[in-house]
């Protein structure tokens, strides 16, 4: 069983895909339900894994390794040379992101009930996207990671370009080009490492590059290592995204369908964070240490820049989009501090923003479904007519601005704690951003809920199944906010290992 659980988890959405594929494309209701059911299987497996972890089972016992590709006819010299295995593994750090993926996928599938056309194609791509996301967080070598990464890339291109708002195709092209550049840079790094070292297994690479008692096929000069590290970080900075690589993400958030944005903001941006921490810190600890100050500065700039722009947007989607840029800035400088609190803050922020952004964009879906607009100027006074919706929106906004007791607070607090420890001055500047965050969130939320009344009697309040995503996401947000230890314990072991590599 242990040998098959991880591949089963990665490919479990296939069951849903087959069910959908067998249905005629006119069966709207069944297709939507099958799409949702398809996300349950990975959710159950990931919860089972979490439960196993709680009972003390070592996650590494699920690791698998199957022969996959061998380049060149070199087996007679060394049969591991230039081989790439199909290897999946799991640790606490990746389990966090897998849980995030499975939960958000399930909720986004619920939110996809608002999709108006082409349900069959939509849910097929949706589940394909989930396979890609799950694979990314479990891949144990760089090429496999890249493969799953590109699965998300292709399926997202279609999801954005087909089921969004007016300028969706343009947004899809922006996504294509920016992420194309990102993935090509990543490929360059992967291939160079592969050629020089002969493997893409992450543990092996880490060991060989940092302990260095293995003869390399071709030596890697310090200069080359620095370059590879920088390219890797540019690739993930595009994905995350941090200033100045954020413009594609804003477009995607504005133009793509809300359920897609829920996943995009909730999980896909986190691939950037995951990659930086796992590969950046894992494979290039020395170089990361050299670049740490730069990371902190760029992170703070990103944080402030996103917050400033969010303050002047007139479209609610854009407010949340720039708020994502801003929050990813926190992840980036939290990572750059390279201390325990900062790294924990970065991981917490990644997860917390995943839940909060998914909630905010779910509310966008609800709002657009009722009012047909997300323009701040066209909305107002919803509190009177849609009291529950307005209450939820306000609470979600408060979570985003970091109200104590919710997940946003604990993650920002820890990231700032880390930053104050490393760079006092930078931290003092960054604190301005916290005020801005409060300002833009409240401005947007209050504009919609209070002020001039613009509504029609046909708009109904939150009802029925719509409570499910709201309730679950609030539970996650509050659970992290009130008792962050459950998340902290999952990642602590990995963080300690990484920090040891830098310090020791």
């Amino acid at each position: 069983m242990n040998d098959y659980l991880l591949p089963l988890l990665v490919f479990s959405p296939v069951i849903g895909m087959i069910m959908i594929w067998l249905m005629p494309k006119t069966e709207e209701k069944t297709l939507k339900q099958f799409g949702w059911i398809g996300t349950l299987m990975p959710l159950l497996i990931s919860l089972f894994l979490y439960q196993q972890w709680l009972t003390g089972v070592s996650l590494s016992s699920y690791q698998i390794k199957w022969n996959w590709i061998q380049f060149g006819n070199l087996a007679m010299y060394d049969d591991t040379l230039y081989t790439i295995d199909f290897e999946l593994s799991l640790d606490g750090f990746s389990l966090v992101f897998i849980l995030l993926t499975t939960v958000l996928s399930m909720l986004a599938a619920l939110a996809s009930f608002y999709i108006k056309t082409e349900w069959k194609g939509y849910f097929l791509l949706f589940l394909l996207l989930e396979i890609g996301m799950l694979g990314v967080f479990m891949a144990d070598n760089l090429l496999l990671f890249f493969l799953f990464f590109e699965v998300t890339f292709v399926s997202l291109f279609f999801l954005i370009g087909r089921w969004g708002y007016v300028n969706k195709e343009k947004a899809a092209y922006h996504f294509l080009v920016y992420n194309g550049i990102g993935s090509v840079l990543l490929l360059f790094v992967i291939a160079t490492l592969f050629v020089r070292v002969g493997t893409t297994n992450i543990d092996a690479l880490t060991h060989i590059l940092n302990v260095g008692d293995v003869a390399l096929l071709a030596p890697i000069s310090p200069f080359l290592t620095d370059m590879l590290c920088i390219l890797l970080f540019i690739a993930f900075a595009i994905k995350l995204p941090v200033f100045p690589f954020h413009s594609w993400m804003v477009r995607v958030h504005r133009e793509a369908a809300p359920p897609v944005v829920m996943l995009h903001a909730g999980v896909l941006l986190k691939i950037g964070a995951y990659g930086m921490i796992r590969f950046g810190l894992g494979i290039f600890p020395e170089q990361v240490e050299k670049l740490a100050l730069l990371f902190m500065i760029v992170g703070v700039i990103s944080f402030l820049y996103g917050a400033f722009l969010a303050l002047v947007q007139t479209d609610l989607k854009l407010v949340w989009a720039y708020s994502s840029v801003s929050h990813m800035g926190i992840v980036f400088f939290g990572f750059g501090t390279l201390n325990d609190a900062g790294l924990q803050g970065a991981v917490f922020q990644a997860v917390s923003h995943g839940a909060i952004a998914a909630l905010l964009f779910f509310l966008i879906a609800l709002l657009y479904e009722r009012t047909g607009t997300t323009e701040l100027n066209e909305l107002g006074g919803l509190a009177e007519h849609l009291p529950i919706f307005s209450g939820v929106l306000l609470t979600a906004g408060l979570a985003a601005l970091g109200l104590p007791g919710m997940s946003g607070f604990i993650s920002e607090f820890m990231a700032f704690l880390g930053l104050f420890k490393e760079q006092m001055l930078l931290a003092i500047i960054a604190v301005i951003g916290l005020i801005l965050t409060a300002a833009y969130t409240l401005r947007a939320v209050l504009k919609i809920t209070f002020g001039k009344k613009t509504y029609s009697m046909t708009w109904r309040d939150v009802q029925g199944i719509e409570y499910v995503p709201i309730a679950i996401l609030f539970m996650v947000i509050v659970a992290i906010g009130v008792y962050p230890m459950w998340l902290g314990q999952l990642v602590q072991e990995d963080i300690t290992t990484w920090l040891l590599r830098i310090g020791g």
Binding site: I69, Q70, E150, R162, L176, V177, A191, T192
Partner: protein
């Protein structure tokens, strides 16, 4: 040469060629004597049977050790066998395309010729892969070229087809002339046309004057063959010819001719210039010294092919430029010599992938173009609704052409890339970077076709029905593209098991 020597040759080694030749002769005789009213289309299936038989006989020849007959002019070594496998698979798929061409594409009464000229062209390509002598090499090349000229002009009443044929003849003639001029130097320097003997003589050359002549010869041969490969800046003819020729012929030129072009290039480079020394002291190999010229060609080809493809509205021209770009990627493998380890593996695997994805794309295009009587991009509009299966197939081909992981095209590109990075000289890094940068460019035009297929609403909802024969081609191509993308070691292990490291080819003579 008396009868006894002739009979003592291992003629079995030429079996695939004999089968193709025999089928071509039978078809031409049948076409000649059959009454005019007789439908020529079934001849395609007859041609396909010939190709399949040749393939089977080639498979049975695989265990045969390196064999050479006819005074070493015909060699069946690992390289020849590996290339012939590709040629026969490709030709088999293309002939089904030809059999499925629709009635209104202007071939008129020339269907008979259409099929057996494919076979003679294929025969030429196969002879080239096996030639151990400059004479047979050129004869094979000309057989392929002349058959292709006629094929390109097959639509007799179509102005563009006429233009294509004429352009092709003129350009092809020039390129052959330049190649032959270069070869004449080689003959002058070595006094032989046998590749083995030539390489022995060339390995001993150290006089700077002679080396200069050798460089000149190398240059001319390279330029001449560049025309054939349609690499920039000698690519101008390709889009026009591709556009004018009937679609199955375009597929043939884009795949089979391209494989044949690389075969002749590799044979000349590896058997002649690899052994020669690059300077008077013999410290640097000739190819090592001069590969920068190939690198320049590769870089220019990738950039020009991809940039010009961006602007094409005609899908056939788009595929032509995409073919030019792919020739550029392959030249990267040649220019970097695959980092010293991977060259032949890489080229072989890339062509295997290219064959499936390109012929598949041409198959979808051919039917849509015939159904709409147009070759513009809009013929793909709404394909997702009108024929979901074809839309998915086309998506897989386009993703593979773009080099997205999970497809054979990615593994091929990654292989080239590995070879380039393994070289680790500045030239190699520049080439690798151009390869990556142009790959992003190629995303734009491949994905723009996907946009037509999936995003644009169709004018009619009427289903497009593909004939069964084309569906089979699509199926084979999809399976090939996916299998070799997800489990490339099926092909790579086969290659290593049967051909090892191509040692008998590299060390010929």
């Amino acid at each position: 040469m008396d009868m006894k020597t002739v009979l003592s040759y291992e003629w079995g080694a030429m079996m695939p060629e004999f089968i193709i030749l025999g089928t071509a002769i039978l078809l031409s005789l049948f076409d000649l004597f059959a009454p005019k009213r007789f439908n020529r289309r079934p001849l395609a299936w007859f041609a396909l049977i010939g190709i399949v038989l040749a393939f089977v006989s080639l498979i049975s020849l695989l265990p045969l050790a390196e064999t050479s007959i006819l005074a070493d002019t015909f060699r069946l070594d690992s390289f020849a066998k590996a290339s012939k496998l590709l040629l026969l698979i490709g030709a088999g798929l293309v002939i089904v395309l030809a059999a499925s061409h629709s009635a209104n594409d202007g071939l008129g009464g020339y269907q008979g010729e259409f099929y057996y000229l494919f076979l003679t062209a294929l025969l030429g390509a196969m002879m080239m892969t096996s030639s151990g002598d400059l004479i047979t090499l050129v004869v094979g090349l000309e057989l392929l070229s002349i058959s292709s000229y006629i094929l390109a002009g097959m639509k007799k009443k179509n102005l563009k087809s006429n233009e294509a044929a004429l352009k092709y003849v003129v350009m092809g003639g020039i390129s052959t002339a330049i190649t032959l001029f270069g070869m004449s130097y080689l003959y002058g320097l070595t006094g032989s046309t046998n590749l083995g003997e030539m390489s022995e003589t060339m390995a001993r050359v150290s006089d700077s004057q002679v080396l200069y002549l050798l460089g000149l010869a190398f240059f001319m041969v390279l330029v001449g063959l560049s025309f054939k490969l349609a690499t920039a800046p000698f690519h101008m003819w390709a889009p026009d010819v591709y556009e004018g020729a009937p679609t199955p012929v375009t597929a043939f030129l884009g795949v089979i001719s391209k494989i044949a072009g690389f075969v002749i290039l590799l044979r000349l480079l590896l058997s002649l210039f690899l052994a020669a020394s690059g300077d008077t002291f013999g410290t640097v190999a000739f190819l090592e010294q001069n590969r920068v010229f190939i690198a320049v060609l590769a870089g220019a080809t990738m950039i020009i092919g991809n940039v010009l493809a961006l602007r094409q509205q005609n899908v056939k021209r788009l595929l032509a430029y995409s073919g030019i770009a792919h020739a550029g990627y392959l030249l990267v493998a040649v220019a970097t010599l695959g980092g010293g380890y991977f060259l032949l593996d890489t080229v072989w695997f890339y062509f295997l992938a290219y064959l499936f994805m390109n012929i598949g794309a041409f198959a979808v295009f051919q039917w849509l173009a015939d159904a709409n009587s147009s070759e513009q991009r809009f013929i793909f509009v709404g394909l997702a609704k009108r024929s979901p299966a074809a839309a998915v197939a086309m998506t897989i081909f386009l993703l593979s052409l773009a080099g997205i992981p999970g497809t054979a095209g990615f593994i091929g590109k990654f292989h080239i890339f590995l070879g380039a990075l393994l070289g680790s000289t500045p030239t190699d890094y520049i080439l690798a970077s151009i390869l990556l940068a142009t790959t992003i460019l190629s995303y734009v035009y491949y994905f723009s076709l996907l946009v037509q297929i999936f995003f644009r609403p169709a004018a009619t909802k009427e289903a497009v029905r593909f004939p069964v024969s084309l569906m089979i081609v699509l199926l084979v191509c999809v399976v090939g593209t996916m299998i070799f993308g997800l489990a490339p070691n099926i092909a790579l292990d086969f290659l290593h098991q049967h051909f090892g490291d191509f040692t008998d080819f590299i060390s010929m003579g």
